[in-house]
Symmetry: C2
Subunit: 236 residues, 2 copies
Amino acid sequence: MKNLIVASTSTVYGGSHLDYLLEEISHLFSNTEEVLFIPYARPGGISHDTYTEKAAEAFSQIGKKLVGIHTFDNAETAIKNAKGVFTGGGNTFVLVSQLYQNGLMQPLRDAIFNGLPYLGTSAGSNICGVTMQTTNDMPIVYPPSFKTLGAIPFNINPHYLDPDPTSTHMGETRETRIKEYHTQNNIPVAGLREGSWLQVTGDTVILKGEHSARIFQQDKEPFEIEPGTELGVLLS
Amino acid sequence: MKNLIVASTSTVYGGSHLDYLLEEISHLFSNTEEVLFIPYARPGGISHDTYTEKAAEAFSQIGKKLVGIHTFDNAETAIKNAKGVFTGGGNTFVLVSQLYQNGLMQPLRDAIFNGLPYLGTSAGSNICGVTMQTTNDMPIVYPPSFKTLGAIPFNINPHYLDPDPTSTHMGETRETRIKEYHTQNNIPVAGLREGSWLQVTGDTVILKGEHSARIFQQDKEPFEIEPGTELGVLLS
Protein backbone atom coordinates (compact mmCIF):
# COMPACT_ATOMS: atom_id res chain seq x y z
CA MET A 1 0.00 0.00 0.00
CA LYS A 2 1.43 3.37 -1.02
CA ASN A 3 2.68 5.55 1.82
CA LEU A 4 3.96 9.01 0.90
CA ILE A 5 4.31 12.57 2.06
CA VAL A 6 4.30 14.94 -0.90
CA ALA A 7 5.26 18.39 0.38
CA SER A 8 5.22 21.74 -1.39
CA THR A 9 8.49 22.92 0.16
CA SER A 10 11.25 21.73 2.46
CA THR A 11 11.35 25.01 4.35
CA VAL A 12 8.66 27.48 5.33
CA TYR A 13 9.42 31.18 5.76
CA GLY A 14 11.18 31.84 9.05
CA GLY A 15 11.73 28.12 9.71
CA SER A 16 14.68 25.79 9.31
CA HIS A 17 15.08 22.91 6.88
CA LEU A 18 12.15 20.44 7.23
CA ASP A 19 11.33 21.57 10.81
CA TYR A 20 7.59 21.97 10.24
CA LEU A 21 7.39 18.40 8.92
CA LEU A 22 9.65 16.52 11.36
CA GLU A 23 6.82 14.91 13.33
CA GLU A 24 5.17 13.64 10.13
CA ILE A 25 8.51 12.41 8.79
CA SER A 26 9.19 10.57 12.02
CA HIS A 27 5.84 8.84 11.68
CA LEU A 28 6.32 8.07 7.96
CA PHE A 29 9.68 6.41 8.60
CA SER A 30 8.77 4.79 11.93
CA ASN A 31 9.79 1.37 10.58
CA THR A 32 13.43 2.28 9.90
CA GLU A 33 16.42 4.10 11.36
CA GLU A 34 18.00 4.67 7.95
CA VAL A 35 16.53 6.53 5.00
CA LEU A 36 17.91 6.68 1.46
CA PHE A 37 18.34 10.25 0.18
CA ILE A 38 18.13 11.21 -3.50
CA PRO A 39 20.07 14.49 -3.82
CA TYR A 40 19.93 14.64 -7.64
CA ALA A 41 17.92 17.89 -7.85
CA ARG A 42 20.97 19.80 -6.51
CA PRO A 43 19.40 23.11 -5.37
CA GLY A 44 21.68 25.97 -6.38
CA GLY A 45 23.92 23.39 -8.05
CA ILE A 46 25.38 22.14 -4.75
CA SER A 47 27.12 18.76 -4.73
CA HIS A 48 25.39 15.52 -3.80
CA ASP A 49 27.59 15.28 -0.70
CA THR A 50 26.81 18.80 0.50
CA TYR A 51 23.11 18.37 -0.09
CA THR A 52 23.05 15.03 1.72
CA GLU A 53 24.87 16.53 4.71
CA LYS A 54 22.33 19.34 4.90
CA ALA A 55 19.36 17.01 4.79
CA ALA A 56 20.99 14.56 7.20
CA GLU A 57 21.24 17.31 9.78
CA ALA A 58 17.46 17.69 9.86
CA PHE A 59 16.91 13.93 9.97
CA SER A 60 19.35 13.57 12.88
CA GLN A 61 16.91 15.59 15.00
CA ILE A 62 14.46 12.68 14.83
CA GLY A 63 17.16 10.04 15.31
CA LYS A 64 17.29 8.96 11.67
CA LYS A 65 20.34 8.40 9.53
CA LEU A 66 20.18 9.69 5.94
CA VAL A 67 22.42 8.06 3.32
CA GLY A 68 22.96 9.55 -0.16
CA ILE A 69 22.10 7.26 -3.06
CA HIS A 70 25.25 8.51 -4.86
CA THR A 71 27.40 6.68 -2.29
CA PHE A 72 26.17 3.25 -3.45
CA ASP A 73 27.84 1.32 -6.24
CA ASN A 74 24.46 0.21 -7.50
CA ALA A 75 21.73 2.80 -7.10
CA GLU A 76 18.96 0.47 -8.26
CA THR A 77 19.87 -2.07 -5.59
CA ALA A 78 19.99 0.73 -3.05
CA ILE A 79 16.37 1.58 -3.86
CA LYS A 80 15.33 -2.08 -3.74
CA ASN A 81 16.92 -2.47 -0.30
CA ALA A 82 15.72 0.85 1.11
CA LYS A 83 13.17 0.96 3.92
CA GLY A 84 12.45 4.62 3.19
CA VAL A 85 13.33 7.22 0.55
CA PHE A 86 13.52 11.01 0.65
CA THR A 87 13.92 13.05 -2.56
CA GLY A 88 14.79 16.67 -1.89
CA GLY A 89 14.02 19.78 -3.92
CA GLY A 90 16.11 21.70 -6.42
CA ASN A 91 15.77 21.63 -10.18
CA THR A 92 13.19 19.13 -11.46
CA PHE A 93 14.80 18.88 -14.92
CA VAL A 94 18.13 17.90 -13.36
CA LEU A 95 16.42 15.44 -11.00
CA VAL A 96 14.36 13.75 -13.72
CA SER A 97 17.31 13.56 -16.12
CA GLN A 98 19.47 11.90 -13.50
CA LEU A 99 16.76 9.43 -12.49
CA TYR A 100 16.38 8.35 -16.12
CA GLN A 101 20.12 8.32 -16.76
CA ASN A 102 20.63 6.00 -13.81
CA GLY A 103 17.65 3.81 -14.78
CA LEU A 104 15.84 4.56 -11.54
CA MET A 105 12.44 5.95 -12.53
CA GLN A 106 10.78 2.56 -12.91
CA PRO A 107 12.45 0.86 -9.90
CA LEU A 108 11.50 3.81 -7.69
CA ARG A 109 7.93 3.69 -8.96
CA ASP A 110 7.72 -0.05 -8.36
CA ALA A 111 9.07 0.33 -4.82
CA ILE A 112 6.59 3.11 -4.01
CA PHE A 113 3.67 1.07 -5.34
CA ASN A 114 4.90 -1.82 -3.19
CA GLY A 115 4.68 0.33 -0.05
CA LEU A 116 8.12 1.96 0.29
CA PRO A 117 7.63 5.01 2.54
CA TYR A 118 8.52 8.06 0.45
CA LEU A 119 9.01 11.72 1.29
CA GLY A 120 9.23 14.34 -1.44
CA THR A 121 9.70 18.07 -1.13
CA SER A 122 9.36 20.52 -4.03
CA ALA A 123 11.06 18.83 -7.03
CA GLY A 124 10.90 15.56 -5.08
CA SER A 125 7.12 16.06 -4.92
CA ASN A 126 6.79 17.16 -8.50
CA ILE A 127 7.99 13.75 -9.63
CA CYS A 128 5.19 12.03 -7.68
CA GLY A 129 2.76 13.37 -10.28
CA VAL A 130 2.00 11.84 -13.66
CA THR A 131 4.38 14.26 -15.39
CA MET A 132 6.77 17.02 -14.33
CA GLN A 133 5.05 19.46 -16.68
CA THR A 134 3.76 21.76 -13.96
CA THR A 135 7.15 22.42 -12.43
CA ASN A 136 8.24 26.02 -11.87
CA ASP A 137 11.85 25.25 -12.73
CA MET A 138 14.04 26.35 -15.58
CA PRO A 139 14.78 23.70 -18.24
CA ILE A 140 18.53 23.78 -17.58
CA VAL A 141 19.02 20.23 -18.87
CA TYR A 142 17.01 18.22 -21.44
CA PRO A 143 15.47 15.11 -19.87
CA PRO A 144 14.64 12.10 -22.05
CA SER A 145 10.98 12.39 -21.01
CA PHE A 146 8.69 14.54 -18.87
CA LYS A 147 6.91 11.44 -17.52
CA THR A 148 7.42 10.89 -13.81
CA LEU A 149 6.41 8.43 -11.09
CA GLY A 150 2.63 8.69 -11.26
CA ALA A 151 2.37 7.82 -7.57
CA ILE A 152 -0.69 10.07 -7.51
CA PRO A 153 -3.18 10.35 -10.38
CA PHE A 154 -2.63 14.08 -10.95
CA ASN A 155 0.16 16.65 -11.15
CA ILE A 156 1.65 18.90 -8.50
CA ASN A 157 2.52 22.56 -8.69
CA PRO A 158 4.73 23.09 -5.65
CA HIS A 159 5.37 26.52 -4.10
CA TYR A 160 1.98 27.56 -5.45
CA LEU A 161 1.82 31.34 -5.46
CA ASP A 162 -1.29 33.50 -5.61
CA PRO A 163 -1.33 36.39 -8.07
CA ASP A 164 -0.03 39.63 -6.53
CA PRO A 165 -2.72 42.29 -7.21
CA THR A 166 -0.14 45.08 -6.74
CA SER A 167 2.32 43.66 -9.27
CA THR A 168 3.30 45.69 -12.34
CA HIS A 169 5.16 42.71 -13.84
CA MET A 170 3.70 41.52 -17.15
CA GLY A 171 4.98 37.93 -16.96
CA GLU A 172 2.39 35.19 -16.50
CA THR A 173 0.92 34.45 -13.07
CA ARG A 174 1.10 30.89 -11.80
CA GLU A 175 -2.62 30.47 -12.47
CA THR A 176 -2.17 31.64 -16.08
CA ARG A 177 0.66 29.14 -16.56
CA ILE A 178 -1.40 26.22 -15.24
CA LYS A 179 -4.35 27.25 -17.40
CA GLU A 180 -1.98 27.23 -20.40
CA TYR A 181 -0.94 23.74 -19.35
CA HIS A 182 -4.57 22.70 -19.63
CA THR A 183 -4.83 23.95 -23.18
CA GLN A 184 -2.42 21.10 -24.03
CA ASN A 185 -3.07 18.45 -21.36
CA ASN A 186 -5.96 16.99 -19.36
CA ILE A 187 -4.24 15.82 -16.18
CA PRO A 188 -5.57 17.71 -13.10
CA VAL A 189 -3.14 19.86 -11.11
CA ALA A 190 -2.98 20.54 -7.38
CA GLY A 191 -1.37 23.89 -6.56
CA LEU A 192 0.20 23.31 -3.12
CA ARG A 193 1.06 26.42 -1.12
CA GLU A 194 4.22 26.42 0.96
CA GLY A 195 3.53 24.61 4.23
CA SER A 196 0.98 22.24 2.64
CA TRP A 197 1.55 18.58 1.94
CA LEU A 198 -0.35 15.56 0.69
CA GLN A 199 -0.56 12.42 2.77
CA VAL A 200 -0.88 9.44 0.45
CA THR A 201 -2.09 6.17 1.95
CA GLY A 202 -2.92 3.64 -0.73
CA ASP A 203 -5.27 5.46 -3.09
CA THR A 204 -6.31 7.96 -0.43
CA VAL A 205 -4.70 11.41 -0.80
CA ILE A 206 -5.41 13.96 1.92
CA LEU A 207 -4.42 17.63 1.99
CA LYS A 208 -2.52 18.51 5.17
CA GLY A 209 -1.11 21.67 6.69
CA GLU A 210 -2.73 25.01 7.40
CA HIS A 211 -3.48 26.26 3.90
CA SER A 212 -6.10 25.49 1.33
CA ALA A 213 -4.87 24.19 -2.05
CA ARG A 214 -5.96 25.30 -5.49
CA ILE A 215 -7.24 22.66 -7.89
CA PHE A 216 -7.08 23.05 -11.66
CA GLN A 217 -8.92 20.82 -14.11
CA GLN A 218 -9.22 21.12 -17.86
CA ASP A 219 -12.20 23.23 -18.99
CA LYS A 220 -13.28 23.97 -15.40
CA GLU A 221 -12.88 26.96 -13.13
CA PRO A 222 -10.13 26.43 -10.54
CA PHE A 223 -11.32 26.02 -6.96
CA GLU A 224 -9.97 25.83 -3.41
CA ILE A 225 -10.01 22.76 -1.19
CA GLU A 226 -9.53 22.87 2.56
CA PRO A 227 -7.09 20.82 4.64
CA GLY A 228 -8.53 17.38 5.32
CA THR A 229 -10.03 17.09 1.83
CA GLU A 230 -9.55 13.78 0.05
CA LEU A 231 -8.13 14.29 -3.45
CA GLY A 232 -7.51 10.74 -4.59
CA VAL A 233 -11.09 10.12 -5.68
CA LEU A 234 -11.73 13.77 -6.56
CA LEU A 235 -8.97 13.86 -9.15
CA SER A 236 -8.65 10.32 -10.45
CA MET B 1 23.46 41.17 -42.40
CA LYS B 2 21.29 40.23 -39.43
CA ASN B 3 18.66 42.77 -38.46
CA LEU B 4 16.59 42.01 -35.37
CA ILE B 5 14.73 43.50 -32.45
CA VAL B 6 14.74 41.11 -29.51
CA ALA B 7 12.37 42.49 -26.89
CA SER B 8 11.74 41.35 -23.33
CA THR B 9 7.98 41.85 -23.52
CA SER B 10 5.26 42.88 -25.96
CA THR B 11 3.54 45.08 -23.41
CA VAL B 12 4.86 47.28 -20.63
CA TYR B 13 2.79 47.99 -17.52
CA GLY B 14 0.08 50.54 -18.22
CA GLY B 15 0.68 50.40 -21.98
CA SER B 16 -1.07 48.69 -24.86
CA HIS B 17 0.21 45.85 -27.03
CA LEU B 18 3.57 46.81 -28.62
CA ASP B 19 2.95 50.57 -28.25
CA TYR B 20 6.34 51.38 -26.70
CA LEU B 21 8.09 49.68 -29.63
CA LEU B 22 6.04 50.91 -32.59
CA GLU B 23 8.58 53.44 -33.81
CA GLU B 24 11.36 50.86 -33.73
CA ILE B 25 9.16 48.29 -35.45
CA SER B 26 8.28 50.77 -38.17
CA HIS B 27 11.99 51.34 -38.75
CA LEU B 28 12.83 47.61 -38.68
CA PHE B 29 10.21 46.80 -41.29
CA SER B 30 10.66 49.95 -43.39
CA ASN B 31 11.28 47.84 -46.51
CA THR B 32 7.90 46.10 -46.49
CA GLU B 33 4.18 46.71 -45.99
CA GLU B 34 3.51 43.10 -45.03
CA VAL B 35 5.01 41.16 -42.15
CA LEU B 36 4.67 37.42 -41.50
CA PHE B 37 3.43 36.62 -37.99
CA ILE B 38 4.32 33.42 -36.11
CA PRO B 39 1.54 32.96 -33.52
CA TYR B 40 2.65 29.48 -32.39
CA ALA B 41 3.41 30.46 -28.75
CA ARG B 42 -0.34 30.94 -28.16
CA PRO B 43 -0.37 33.04 -24.95
CA GLY B 44 -3.12 31.76 -22.67
CA GLY B 45 -3.79 29.05 -25.26
CA ILE B 46 -5.59 31.44 -27.66
CA SER B 47 -6.01 30.34 -31.27
CA HIS B 48 -3.60 31.31 -34.05
CA ASP B 49 -6.35 33.41 -35.64
CA THR B 50 -7.19 35.31 -32.47
CA TYR B 51 -3.54 35.96 -31.70
CA THR B 52 -2.86 37.15 -35.24
CA GLU B 53 -5.82 39.54 -35.10
CA LYS B 54 -4.55 41.00 -31.83
CA ALA B 55 -1.04 41.56 -33.16
CA ALA B 56 -2.35 42.87 -36.49
CA GLU B 57 -4.23 45.60 -34.65
CA ALA B 58 -0.98 47.02 -33.27
CA PHE B 59 0.76 46.74 -36.66
CA SER B 60 -2.11 48.55 -38.39
CA GLN B 61 -1.18 51.66 -36.39
CA ILE B 62 2.05 51.89 -38.37
CA GLY B 63 0.39 50.99 -41.67
CA LYS B 64 1.65 47.43 -41.79
CA LYS B 65 -0.31 44.32 -42.61
CA LEU B 66 0.38 41.25 -40.47
CA VAL B 67 -0.36 37.80 -41.94
CA GLY B 68 -0.38 34.63 -39.83
CA ILE B 69 1.97 31.87 -40.98
CA HIS B 70 -0.79 29.33 -40.23
CA THR B 71 -2.81 30.70 -43.17
CA PHE B 72 -0.21 29.53 -45.72
CA ASP B 73 -0.30 26.07 -47.27
CA ASN B 74 3.47 25.89 -47.05
CA ALA B 75 4.94 27.59 -44.00
CA GLU B 76 8.54 27.10 -45.12
CA THR B 77 7.86 28.87 -48.39
CA ALA B 78 6.08 31.63 -46.47
CA ILE B 79 9.27 32.24 -44.48
CA LYS B 80 11.42 32.15 -47.62
CA ASN B 81 9.16 34.74 -49.28
CA ALA B 82 8.74 36.95 -46.22
CA LYS B 83 10.22 40.46 -46.13
CA GLY B 84 9.83 40.58 -42.35
CA VAL B 85 8.86 38.21 -39.51
CA PHE B 86 7.39 38.81 -36.07
CA THR B 87 7.21 36.01 -33.49
CA GLY B 88 5.00 36.87 -30.53
CA GLY B 89 5.19 35.72 -26.91
CA GLY B 90 3.35 32.98 -25.08
CA ASN B 91 4.71 29.59 -24.12
CA THR B 92 8.23 28.91 -25.39
CA PHE B 93 7.83 25.11 -25.21
CA VAL B 94 4.74 25.28 -27.41
CA LEU B 95 6.47 27.67 -29.82
CA VAL B 96 9.64 25.60 -30.15
CA SER B 97 7.72 22.33 -30.53
CA GLN B 98 5.61 23.79 -33.32
CA LEU B 99 8.62 25.28 -35.13
CA TYR B 100 10.34 21.88 -35.10
CA GLN B 101 7.16 19.99 -36.00
CA ASN B 102 6.68 22.21 -39.04
CA GLY B 103 10.36 22.00 -39.99
CA LEU B 104 10.84 25.75 -39.65
CA MET B 105 13.69 26.19 -37.16
CA GLN B 106 16.46 25.89 -39.75
CA PRO B 107 14.70 27.85 -42.56
CA LEU B 108 13.95 30.68 -40.11
CA ARG B 109 17.54 30.70 -38.91
CA ASP B 110 18.84 30.75 -42.49
CA ALA B 111 16.53 33.63 -43.39
CA ILE B 112 17.58 35.67 -40.34
CA PHE B 113 21.27 35.11 -41.11
CA ASN B 114 20.55 36.25 -44.66
CA GLY B 115 19.15 39.55 -43.38
CA LEU B 116 15.41 38.94 -42.91
CA PRO B 117 14.19 41.66 -40.51
CA TYR B 118 12.93 39.88 -37.39
CA LEU B 119 11.02 41.05 -34.34
CA GLY B 120 10.67 38.85 -31.28
CA THR B 121 8.89 39.51 -28.02
CA SER B 122 9.16 37.32 -24.92
CA ALA B 123 9.03 33.69 -26.20
CA GLY B 124 9.76 35.07 -29.69
CA SER B 125 12.94 36.59 -28.24
CA ASN B 126 13.85 33.54 -26.21
CA ILE B 127 14.25 31.57 -29.43
CA CYS B 128 16.81 34.08 -30.74
CA GLY B 129 19.25 32.69 -28.17
CA VAL B 130 21.38 29.59 -28.53
CA THR B 131 18.90 27.54 -26.51
CA MET B 132 15.51 28.11 -24.87
CA GLN B 133 16.88 26.89 -21.55
CA THR B 134 16.50 30.21 -19.74
CA THR B 135 12.80 30.57 -20.45
CA ASN B 136 10.44 31.25 -17.55
CA ASP B 137 7.70 29.11 -19.04
CA MET B 138 6.14 25.88 -17.90
CA PRO B 139 7.11 22.75 -19.90
CA ILE B 140 3.53 22.11 -21.00
CA VAL B 141 4.65 20.20 -24.11
CA TYR B 142 7.85 18.22 -24.79
CA PRO B 143 9.87 19.72 -27.64
CA PRO B 144 12.25 17.52 -29.66
CA SER B 145 15.15 19.78 -28.64
CA PHE B 146 15.89 22.87 -26.55
CA LYS B 147 18.18 24.27 -29.29
CA THR B 148 16.89 27.45 -30.88
CA LEU B 149 17.88 29.96 -33.57
CA GLY B 150 21.23 31.13 -32.24
CA ALA B 151 20.75 34.51 -33.91
CA ILE B 152 22.72 35.95 -30.99
CA PRO B 153 25.66 34.17 -29.33
CA PHE B 154 24.05 34.01 -25.87
CA ASN B 155 20.71 33.26 -24.20
CA ILE B 156 17.87 35.56 -23.19
CA ASN B 157 15.90 35.63 -19.99
CA PRO B 158 12.89 37.78 -20.87
CA HIS B 159 10.72 39.52 -18.25
CA TYR B 160 13.79 39.58 -16.03
CA LEU B 161 12.66 40.21 -12.47
CA ASP B 162 14.76 41.45 -9.57
CA PRO B 163 14.48 39.61 -6.26
CA ASP B 164 11.80 41.10 -3.98
CA PRO B 165 13.51 41.79 -0.62
CA THR B 166 10.12 41.75 1.17
CA SER B 167 9.07 38.35 -0.21
CA THR B 168 8.34 35.49 2.17
CA HIS B 169 8.07 33.01 -0.71
CA MET B 170 10.70 30.25 -0.59
CA GLY B 171 10.73 29.44 -4.32
CA GLU B 172 13.86 30.34 -6.27
CA THR B 173 14.49 33.92 -7.41
CA ARG B 174 15.19 34.50 -11.08
CA GLU B 175 18.86 35.08 -10.28
CA THR B 176 19.05 31.75 -8.42
CA ARG B 177 17.50 29.98 -11.39
CA ILE B 178 19.97 31.45 -13.87
CA LYS B 179 22.86 30.60 -11.56
CA GLU B 180 21.56 27.01 -11.46
CA TYR B 181 21.53 27.10 -15.26
CA HIS B 182 25.24 27.92 -15.16
CA THR B 183 26.03 24.89 -13.03
CA GLN B 184 25.06 22.85 -16.13
CA ASN B 185 25.81 25.17 -19.09
CA ASN B 186 28.35 27.78 -20.14
CA ILE B 187 26.33 29.98 -22.51
CA PRO B 188 26.03 33.56 -21.15
CA VAL B 189 22.57 34.92 -20.33
CA ALA B 190 21.17 38.43 -20.68
CA GLY B 191 18.35 39.14 -18.23
CA LEU B 192 16.19 41.71 -20.07
CA ARG B 193 13.81 43.74 -17.92
CA GLU B 194 10.39 44.60 -19.31
CA GLY B 195 10.74 47.60 -21.63
CA SER B 196 14.27 46.63 -22.72
CA TRP B 197 15.20 45.24 -26.10
CA LEU B 198 18.28 44.27 -28.06
CA GLN B 199 18.96 45.79 -31.44
CA VAL B 200 20.92 43.31 -33.52
CA THR B 201 22.71 44.61 -36.62
CA GLY B 202 25.04 42.01 -38.06
CA ASP B 203 27.20 40.91 -35.14
CA THR B 204 26.54 44.11 -33.18
CA VAL B 205 24.03 43.74 -30.35
CA ILE B 206 23.04 46.90 -28.47
CA LEU B 207 20.89 47.17 -25.35
CA LYS B 208 18.00 49.61 -25.87
CA GLY B 209 15.23 51.01 -23.70
CA GLU B 210 15.35 52.73 -20.33
CA HIS B 211 16.57 49.93 -18.08
CA SER B 212 19.89 48.32 -17.44
CA ALA B 213 20.16 44.58 -18.13
CA ARG B 214 21.70 41.91 -15.94
CA ILE B 215 24.42 39.73 -17.42
CA PHE B 216 25.18 36.24 -16.15
CA GLN B 217 28.27 34.26 -17.10
CA GLN B 218 29.45 30.92 -15.78
CA ASP B 219 31.75 31.21 -12.74
CA LYS B 220 31.47 35.01 -12.66
CA GLU B 221 29.48 37.44 -10.56
CA PRO B 222 26.47 38.82 -12.47
CA PHE B 223 26.68 42.49 -13.42
CA GLU B 224 24.56 45.29 -14.87
CA ILE B 225 25.03 46.91 -18.26
CA GLU B 226 23.53 50.25 -19.22
CA PRO B 227 21.45 51.05 -22.33
CA GLY B 228 23.74 51.62 -25.30
CA THR B 229 26.15 48.86 -24.28
CA GLU B 230 27.35 46.55 -27.04
CA LEU B 231 26.85 42.89 -26.05
CA GLY B 232 27.81 41.07 -29.23
CA VAL B 233 31.54 41.21 -28.55
CA LEU B 234 31.14 41.17 -24.78
CA LEU B 235 29.34 37.82 -24.79
CA SER B 236 30.62 35.98 -27.83
